[in-house]
Subunit: 339 residues, 2 copies
């Protein structure tokens, strides 16, 4: 087993890097949701002055990158790597949004798990002595995602009750070798899990087994008890997937319900906003973490958080070819202090 | 500057990991090219028994993963991470091809730079003590790429003289903490560079400035002289892009022409095979490295190699929206021995 591994899938960061700052920019609908007071900026409309949704998403990335550097008090030349990705084909939101940063770039694709993937790799690069500061960033955009993955918005398609609403937003964190926390102490990297769900309107169900697998593995690897965390939060399973994940965990002897939430459930007001099962997209867990969870940690309201972003690794083509939907989930363990 | 950084973009791996094994599987056309004797297997036709090109590409990934483990004498449970990506929307070749491996998965998107990106991150994870063994893998497929990025094959579109032929193939390496080389000693991570090329039939020209930037940075950061390497090899600039890259380097005072080659030029017989400017795709640099360069290093014919995979970070949508083509290139320095 590798030096820093504890259990097969988890590494322990002995010199844990700090999350120095976060930033989040969201769309108008997210700006009317439960967490509306948490974000750095709410854009006035889905185009934000651009002439396409894809360019608007790139602008979200560009401005969120600028904002997180401002919040960290760092200039571009202090950043060793930016690790980023999004849902658009060939990840053009990140590629074009970060084109002018002049920072070494590592592109990632983990579908909606990308925020935790970027924080996982980013914190290992920092702890390993390869970087002083990294930026981890993801985005999604409701209109560019619907256009690419589903139907033209103009069609006004009816949505299934299990469907989720892709978050328009971008979230970023700066992870640094120096700092006074919050600290990233453990990284549990997920495996691809496919239990045979093929309903593209029920991504939560497709991703839930992967989330449960990573959570179970995290506790098995670390020997920790769920009560160790104040909050265990999945990426974007939504209402339906969250219940499935909790059920799978219970069947495996792990009851986390008193401290479990999901970013897709948290970001919108599910009773009042017409988003069916909740939020989704790379931008969902990114903005909920950067906008809300991080600030709760900084305020002392949360001392230890397990952040588990989840992704569905399919494409429209794979669905048309009757493939099922593989899921993945990566977890990072975040501590306010090292007491 | 971070502990292991030498210069802004390069890390020095003091305890350099070894490339324990490689594997490569290619398509029929690649199997008739200059390097036909180097590959582990040449598939009989582009479908390889599957009912779609995408599924054939997933099979390339699946079988190359199995082959590289066999060549390394390792079982799945000895692999800490697999780092992989491809060109298909949402990276479905890697996602489906590696679905059943039961190995923690980190998905990457660096377009055709992905092989060097995966080896960069993989070797840092190993050197940092986070992994004993990682598999780095990429793929591409001529038919799935043409269908997705250009025109239906059935249309029989005429190709521009500057266009390149996407390689059908998958290449993989196992990078290990223990081993007797070849060693990965330096990693130079590229920035996104966009000099305004918008011709999607001239990817070589779009990527050449990024390749040149990373090569210049590598030598500036390390203080090495180009003569230090027996071979400096770019990923898939093709004939046109290779000349542009060499010219940019010369304009910047670096003449590497006596030891410079390009995987896109090497893989096909450009005089006899109808591939215009040469090979491209993630699978190009992956199979040329895994099939040919690695074996030349093992034979002692090459002692030190700078492997610089190059990617064009655009999509059909970004081109339709009149965006130019950003490029990126990542470099890894490989030594037969540590003398």
């Amino acid at each position: 087993m590798a030096e820093k591994h504890i259990g097969k899938q988890t590494v322990f960061l002995k010199n844990p890097p700090s999350i120095k700052a976060t930033a989040s920019i969201v769309g108008p609908r997210e700006g009317k949701g439960n967490l509306k007071k948490c974000f750095d900026y709410i854009i006035p409309d889905e185009l934000w002055g651009e002439d396409s949704w894809e360019k608007a998403e790139s602008k979200l990335v560009r401005e969120t990158f600028a904002k997180v550097l401002q919040n960290a008090g760092l200039s571009n030349d202090k950043i060793d790597y930016v690790l980023a990705g999004d849902l658009l084909n060939q990840c053009i939101a990140a590629n074009y949004g970060l084109r002018d940063t002049n920072v070494p770039f590592l592109g990632l694709y983990g579908a909606c798990s990308t925020m935790a993937e970027s924080m996982s790799i980013g914190s290992m690069l920092v702890e390993g002595g390869f970087a002083d500061n990294v930026v981890c960033l993801t985005s999604s955009h409701y209109c560019s995602a619907e256009k690419q993955f589903r139907y033209p918005l103009e069609l006004g398609s009816q949505r299934a009750p299990t469907s989720q609403w892709t978050v328009t937003g971008s979230g970023a964190v700066v992870i640094s070798a120096q700092g006074s926390g919050p600290y990233i102490t453990h990284v549990t990297t997920g495996k691809i899990i496919d239990l045979g769900i093929s309903d593209v309107n029920n991504m939560g169900a497709a991703m839930a087994p992967a989330a449960a697998d990573t959570i179970l593995t995290h506790f098995a690897d670390t020997g920790l008890d769920p009560q160790y965390y104040d909050l265990i939060v999945t990426g974007d399973l939504g209402k339906v997937g969250k219940e499935i994940c909790a059920d799978i965990l219970k069947m495996n002897g792990l009851n986390i319900e008193d401290r479990y939430n999901d970013c897709g459930v948290m970001i919108f007001n599910l009773n009042e906003q017409d988003v069916h099962s909740g939020g989704s997209g790379c931008g969902c867990s990114a903005t909920v973490f950067a906008g809300h969870i991080y600030k709760e940690i900084m305020k002392g309201n949360l001392k230890r958080v397990l952040f588990v972003a989840t992704g569905a690794l399919m494409s429209p083509i794979s669905s048309q070819q009757k493939e099922t939907i593989p899921g993945i989930a990566h977890a990072v363990s975040i501590h306010r202090s090292l007491d």
